[in-house]
Symmetry: C2
Subunit: 328 residues, 2 copies
């Protein structure tokens, strides 16, 4: 069977494949967005008790960075009108950081008032999507951030940033990765500790991910950015694998894959946390998350939201031996 495989070909193959996983981190950090990114797009109003149950299940599963809500105007996102009450009534959990989206100074005030230790700001990499999503130019949005990120930092808060439509804009099409790097650099310079790069409409493929990640690694160390991938076309986990192979250590996910983007038509489904954990643990990468318990959290999410959610592992379960059926 080895005929036809010349030795030099074998050597070529070894050279080509050996570095595939050389940069994969021993441990990665998962930033859980289901309570915010997931629930903000649900048409039904989720009772606050359901949100508390979901967050408790996520904490119980070992997730340590959880975005619980958004201090946007309840006029924009009525599903999150309970933001203050939710943030104020969550029990403090040792080693767990709860964060919330803050679009402006009013949002920061609200986050400070309820005692949150981390906030996140957000904008798009494309003008058209930024205008559709927050009704401002990118420059004007960065001006707003320059008025809230430094005060937030002075108040002792950590600030994260999201950049949407990095892999493509539903209105403009291709997005120049060099432009995204420049936006991210401005966000880091303002005081954000990490920029989360969003494939908002889920159109990314692996070579493109490779190009984007390489440009970021040329500009900043890996801990400064995260990948936030929507699985609209099934490519999220393959894109994450490329990020892993290049040394990315931070990934956003949403249990059971709940979530989308209300102003990005066709967007549906975040990367499901339990599917990501299944792949990572299968590769020997530590996450601090308990797979069985995050599957449980996925089931809680389905109960709370009241419909089947797209994640796969919470349905299929982990790999467990079955008893052989009797035949004949």
């Amino acid at each position: 069977m080895t005929e036809g495989t010349a030795d030099h070909e074998s050597a070529d193959r070894a050279a080509a494949s050996a570095p595939l996983f050389a940069r994969v981190a021993d441990e990665v950090s998962i930033y859980e967005v289901s309570p915010r990114d997931g629930l903000q797009n649900e048409s039904a109003m989720i009772p606050i008790e359901g949100k508390r149950r979901l967050i408790a299940a996520l904490v119980g599963a070992g997730l340590r960075r959880i975005e619980i809500t958004s201090f946007v105007s309840p006029k924009w996102v009525p599903q999150l009108a309970d933001a203050e009450e939710l943030a104020r009534t969550l029990p403090a959990e040792r080693g767990v950081t709860f964060s919330a989206l803050c679009p402006n100074a009013r949002g920061l005030e609200r986050a400070l008032a309820v005692g949150l230790r981390e906030i996140a700001v957000f904008l798009s990499a494309s003008e058209a999507h930024n205008r559709a999503n927050i009704n401002k130019s990118i420059d004007d949005t960065l001006s707003v951030f320059s008025e809230i990120v430094p005060p937030a930092r002075e108040a002792g808060l950590a600030v994260r940033a999201y950049v949407s439509t990095v892999w493509g804009c539903p209105y403009e099409g291709d997005v120049d990765p060099a432009r995204v790097v420049r936006i991210a650099e401005r966000l880091i310079d303002l005081g954000c500790y990490q920029v989360s790069l969003g494939d908002t409409i889920g159109v990314g493929t692996p070579r493109q991910t490779h190009d984007i990640v390489r440009r970021f690694l040329d500009a900043m160390p890996p801990e400064r950015f995260a990948l936030h991938l929507h699985d609209t076309r099934g490519t999220a986990l393959a894109n994450i694998l490329v990020g892993l192979e290049l040394g990315v250590r931070d990934f956003d996910a949403s249990v059971a894959g709940v979530g989308g983007c209300p102003y990005a038509p066709g967007a549906a489904g975040n990367m499901a946390t339990e599917d990501l954990v299944f792949m990572l643990h299968g590769m020997g990468v530590r996450t601090g998350v308990d797979l069985d318990k995050v599957i449980e959290a996925g089931n809680v999410a389905e109960q709370v939201i009241g419909r089947p959610l797209p994640g796969k592992v919470h349905r299929a379960g982990p790999f467990r031996l079955r008893r052989q059926p009797t035949r004949d």
Copy 2:
């Protein structure tokens, strides 16, 4: 922004990442299994007219290797009792190969009688699954094949082979890849032109896929094997990416992700053809398949089967620009 990134680190990164896609083929071959692997597990009986519509849509989309049915006993798989009639009445298509599963000499007779040019034989990599699926030991199954593959070749047929449970057995757990290579070598020695390696229960993760594929590449050239991945836990496309990165050129898929395995509890969903094509084309890899038309074929599959199917791209569509909404 470049502070903290020493030059030697940059160089390391370049060395580590440059070969990621060095082995990716310019063109790959997709072997479409929806009419057989997909429909054999449906609880409803699909009318033969629906099967013809599905196959016509697949041919129209540019798929050139299509497994249309199985010549197993209708007692085992009543859904495919129309095998002869379907094979006999399909219009010949230039450049398209229709194939069918054949478990034994009787199956080969039936395939020859209807004039098929390609058949496929199948067994499992684990004894327990092989016994559950075809009620024989692996050695006894290979003995049966030794009585049908050579005569099939003498009759001018191409013969493909499936090996199931390569990434894990629902009854035995881990499967030794060295054992799978030995089984595959016996199949090639018998006259099979290609062995399709199945992750029947969809438990594979990328490092494991790397290990399996490397062992195969050490034993035989890449055209001798294909990856047949079930997306039960969402990892199929990430595993395919590893195969691509190592130089694999043959992948099985099933439009809209239809299919599973009746004797592997928990198995659900083949790799969806349109999701695979979306990723491959996004990477600049040619498939000969028209993405819009294979999405159409996915919609035909849903109509014919009468329920939503798991593939994503046939639902989300390709990446197309939208008109920007007006706000304010």
